[in-house]
Symmetry: C2
Subunit: 447 residues, 2 copies
């Protein structure tokens, strides 16, 4: 009988694992259990569907169950894994029919993703997290039925993307953030530019206020949000206070959970102590190369890579996930926003001494049409000048420059070397010194 690889979770990590295993071993039996109706969808695209920039939710689906089946993967949508017996190599699964069945496996990939971390606020449990394609469809349908006001609880990037989507639909939008800055992944002075962009887009931002209640009407629909500052009308509410790894079943099975709350894995995506058992994606930890400790970063790009690596290694391969450095990018109203490596605040929290410099420049030659502001902040080690991180905010063309900094951080370049690096120049793309070179030079002066 063929060996059997079972996969728990049919989104980015799970289906990447399934696909790479399928390609490597044509004789393997590959089965993937997904409790929802969809596979391989882009949760990152949901705000654009809500905004109406993407017309149909199905466009967010990179590859549906039928397409995976055509490629020889036994996808079971509507099947929920209830328990994992690692010793007996057996899953307990509630089938789409409702029946509980046992499903054997030889190798296992746990790719259960993350779930909304709804805060303990009265009424918040009535708000469905817009984390799946079908939830997004319900949210958009509610928006299309009407309403004038929206409140977004939490000022992270997903909250901001959703606030922008609501504003684009003509709603009065208020964002409530309990910290004293939005976009907590950036240092505060960089986050202030993002707040400018949000406010310029018509989004009201309330900082330092906690939400005390989501007031729900008799029909279960939101009506208002009561905060420590004031009570806000809210025909629509989004809770954007983050997500936590979905590890209940894996924990119950005895797989190790790290301090981050996610599944511990080694650099081959193996779950320690359990041969042939792998974890990947939002439910798993990643090694942070600068902090030198495991972290939980929920991003589609890591999920895809880790899933592929799990699939390769589950079929006798030897691929290593090299870790993460915290690179992220988003588009927030008129600005693009990006970060990589360590921020100044993050370094301080980790007890790492750094120097940092921030510059303001233009995205193109000053005389070239469309030139706009770009701010670049670099963080470096005081002795060696080694680049440890960067943050960028600016108009179109600004943010993807973060990948240059990510590559430099990854390779261990020092800021004085970065300042003289042969980066491209032409007037439609930058001034004669790219803003990254200007920032590197400003930082090098502090070393």
């Amino acid at each position: 009988m063929a060996r059997r690889l079972a996969i728990v979770g049919g989104d980015a990590a799970g289906m990447s694992a399934a696909s790479s295993a399928r390609r490597r071993d044509p004789d393997l039996d590959v089965v993937a259990f997904e409790r929802g109706p969809y596979t391989s969808y882009s949760a990152c695209g949901i705000p654009y569907f809500v905004a109406g920039l993407v017309d149909r939710a199905e466009r967010l689906i990179a590859r549906g169950p039928e397409q995976h089946r055509e490629r020889g993967i036994d996808v079971r949508t509507g099947w929920e894994v209830l328990a994992i017996d690692l010793a007996a190599r057996r899953l307990t699964v509630r089938a789409a029919s409702g029946e509980e069945v046992g499903e054997p496996f030889d190798e296992l990939v746990v790719a259960t993703g993350a779930e909304a971390a709804t805060p303990p606020i009265a009424g918040a449990e009535a708000i469905e997290p817009a984390r799946t394609v079908d939830a997004a469809e319900r949210l958009r349908a509610a928006l299309e039925r009407g309403g004038r006001s929206a409140v977004v609880i939490g000022g992270g990037y997903i909250g901001l993307e959703m606030a922008e989507a609501f504003a684009d639909r003509g709603l009065d939008v208020t964002m409530v953030e309990q910290e004293d800055q939005i976009m907590g992944t950036l240092d505060d002075e960089m986050a202030a530019h993002v707040q400018d962009a949000a406010e310029g887009h018509g989004i009201r931002v309330i900082l330092g206020a906690s939400v005390e209640e989501v007031v729900v009407d008799d029909a279960g629909a939101p009506a208002a949000v009561r905060t420590s500052a004031e009570t806000l009308d809210a025909d629509h509410v989004v809770v954007g206070t983050g997500a936590r790894p979905a590890v209940a079943v894996a924990r119950e099975a005895g797989l190790q959970i790290g301090d981050s709350g996610a599944l511990r894995v080694d650099d081959h995506q193996r779950c320690p102590g359990h041969d042939g058992v792998f974890a990947a994606g939002d439910c798993a930890e990643s090694h942070h190369r600068l902090l030198d400790r495991p972290v939980n970063v929920q991003l589609g790009t890591h999920a895809n890579k880790q899933g592929r690596i799990a699939g390769v290694n589950a079929t006798g391969g030897d691929l290593r996930f090299p870790g993460v450095i915290g690179t992220a990018v988003s588009k927030i109203c008129k600005y693009e926003v990006a970060r990589t490596g360590l921020g100044e605040a993050e370094a301080a929290e980790a007890g790492i001494e750094v120097v940092s410099a921030t510059i303001e420049d233009r995205t193109r030659a000053a005389y070239y049409p469309g030139a706009g502001p770009i701010w670049v902040k670099l963080v470096a080690a005081p002795g060696s000048g080694r680049l440890l991180g960067g943050q960028i905010v600016g108009v179109e063309g600004a943010a993807k420059r973060i990948d240059v900094l990510a590559t430099a951080v990854w390779a261990g370049l020092a800021v004085d070397e970065l300042a003289l690096l042969d980066l491209s120049y032409a007037p439609p793309f930058s001034g004669v010194y790219d803003p990254l070179l200007v920032a590197a030079r400003a930082t090098a002066k502090l070393i």
Copy 2:
């Protein structure tokens, strides 16, 4: 008496040298001789002025003579250096008045730039190269006086930028290139996409044809261009066949000229054998880090950096120019075009064995508005997988990714490491795997 730093040439390299020396040593006497009327202008911006994207030519001037004078630099515009006596530390200069004068120096920076390499074609000498702000003004004035047809001789990036400018002004434009591809800095299959863009913009491209005569009317204005293929109407003609380092005076003075035809310099921009004499910018060589030999690359970004380094080192500093890797970017009609490191053809010519892969992808998530094609070609060493170069063509957002490849080439990353690097992802900026990661993975498979 104060020491005196003399600078020959008042554009990017010369004025960068003047400015950095001025800042470092307030007591130094800094004099810069520029034979034209302008300083520190962006020759790279000329096509955009010709197109009308930039309204006034003065906008191309980053800093005029008066601004430099206010900063304590004795700028002499309209003064032409005729001879350098290195032993006597004395320049012979034709002053703006026409008088020949002797000007002493202690340290010298030669920044004489490059000059059009007009090919030996009958009539071509009648066409003024559009390399300076005043020449660009004359060209635009001629365009505004009328004409229906234009011919661009030479299919490099400047020729293409000028062809686009002419097309944008409503002219019938034909480009004549004697090789069998345009954009010779790219490998042929990548250049083919650029040709598509040019042709889609209404530019007729004739390959493999040599120009035999520029037919000029009695008033000295162009009328036609006779090629080996056919004779073309030409109310306007641009010769875009490259430029050569302007080194006549320096050669005469005994400064060493390298095989590239440019001035030899060490990694401190010093002219070998002559203490206190520096060269920088288009007239000087640069060390190519991959070819490990001197090359002459005429780009404003190198000119600025080398000028600054010359100015620092001329005032007792110790800055090293780390060399170049051939990074370049341009916008050609609907596409952005970029390259870094070695191309496949270039490597073959240098006798370097490589593997290479080319991928086609989208600039954004497929469902996100504005996603368009991007082609990425990578070149790597067959044994180590070390990235040696990359080329990118694609729609908006494509080309600045070249800086990621430049950083990776610079740092010596291998393609399998690049394939798993933590680059940024969000739907407005890329698919879940950035096209660079896709290309790196495709290339890694060949190693």
